[in-house]
């Protein structure tokens, strides 16, 4: 099972990654990063197939995927 790692300091909360996740594993966090911007987080209990769609759509290169 793969997992998504999000660099919170780079994420701007644009949400472009969320609709493209086939497993609905990404959602908005209530946590703001050090720039005061909302961020996305990976739901650890949800599956990740490693399709990379979220990373491909991320304008900030904030997403890395590990297996």
């Amino acid at each position: 099972m793969a997992r998504v790692s999000i660099a919170v300091g780079l994420c701007k909360g644009c949400e472009l990654c969320i609709p493209f996740c086939p497993h609905d594993s990404l959602t908005m966090s209530r946590h703001l990063n050090e720039h005061g911007l909302p961020t996305v987080y990976f739901k650890e209990d949800h599956p990740c197939s490693g399709c990379k769609y979220c990373a491909v759509m991320c304008p900030e290169a904030a997403i890395e995927i590990f297996k």
């Binding site: 793969a2 660099a7 300091g9 780079l10 701007k12 909360g13 644009c14 949400e15 472009l16 969320i18 609709p19 493209f20 720039h35 911007l37 490693g50 990379k52 769609y53 990373a55 491909v56 759509m57 991320c58 304008p59 900030e60 290169a61 997403i63 890395e64 995927i65 590990f66 297996k67």
Partner: protein, 258 residues
């Protein structure tokens, strides 16, 4: 743990100045991935434009040069002719390339300069707060066309790929978008073909990328992707307009013989 996907080395991972959901970030990452994959980081020279991406050199770990508004093709011509073994690309927006820089791009293409041009088309002036651009769609609202673009007053949008396809000097012309993971992958392929065109000394290549500007389109980033798919591609059809490897039939134009 094994990395399935990690950011390219050429991309400097620092918080960017772009608005949330801006397509420039995706285009920068694709560019960095291609430079890494082709192994040309040490001999690539980029030209940054005037516009939102004026600070592109802060995000790409390669040699870069800044040009006056609209003039990256002219500067790239000089650099490429002096350093023919280097890979030279320009990265330009629609205000830079299609408005003030129209003369430079047309003549660089007609001279068949062996450079690669990345044209980010978001149909608006982003840096100066969302005024009408030459590529603004008909009826699109901007700060200078609050009632929508009216062709009788403001003219019609310019289609750069179709325009340049009439020139014999252009070798590879393609239009892609950033509206879905599939489109982003196709954009990467087209950009790679553009660089390959230059490496194999086949002449001028331009890749037009339809890119979202959610803030000045006044919609959410996800809605802006739908706007590209549903509205922008009606005015700017996607496809390859000229390819030195094969004869292609340009949408809305005559087939070009290569």
């Amino acid at each position: 743990m094994q990395a399935l996907y990690s950011a390219p080395e050429t991309l400097i991972r620092t918080p960017s100045h772009y608005c949330p959901g801006c397509g420039h970030g995706i285009a920068h990452r694709l560019l960095a991935e291609i430079i890494d994959e082709l192994g040309i980081r040490g001999k690539t020279i980029g030209l940054a434009p005037v516009g939102c991406s004026v600070l592109a050199y802060n995000y790409l770990d390669i040699d870069m040069c800044e040009a006056a508004h609209g003039r990256p093709p002219a500067i790239a011509t000089g650099i490429k002719r002096v350093h023919p073994d280097n890979i030279v690309f320009t990265y330009q927006g629609d205000g830079d390339l299609a408005a003030i820089g129209m003369a430079e791009i047309v003549h660089a293409a007609s001279r068949a300069e062996n450079i690669t041009v990345i044209f980010i088309n978001n149909a608006i002036y982003g840096m100066t707060n969302g005024q009408l651009a030459p590529t603004t769609l008909l009826n699109q609202r901007t700060t200078t066309t609050p009632e929508g673009r009216d062709p009788l007053t403001h003219g019609y949008p310019i289609r750069i790929c179709e325009l340049l396809a009439t020139l014999e000097g252009a070798s590879f012309l393609a239009r892609t978008s950033l509206s879905s993971p599939k489109d982003v992958s196709q954009t990467k392929e087209a950009l790679k073909k553009g660089f390959k065109t230059q490496i194999e000394k086949k002449g001028f290549s331009l890749i037009e990328v339809l890119s979202p500007c959610p803030v000045y389109w006044r919609m959410s980033p996800v809605e802006s992707l739908k706007f590209i798919e549903e509205k922008m591609t009606q005015t700017f059809p996607l496809g390859v307009f000229k390819d030195w490897e094969k004869t292609v039939s340009a949408p809305g134009g005559q087939a070009t013989k290569v």
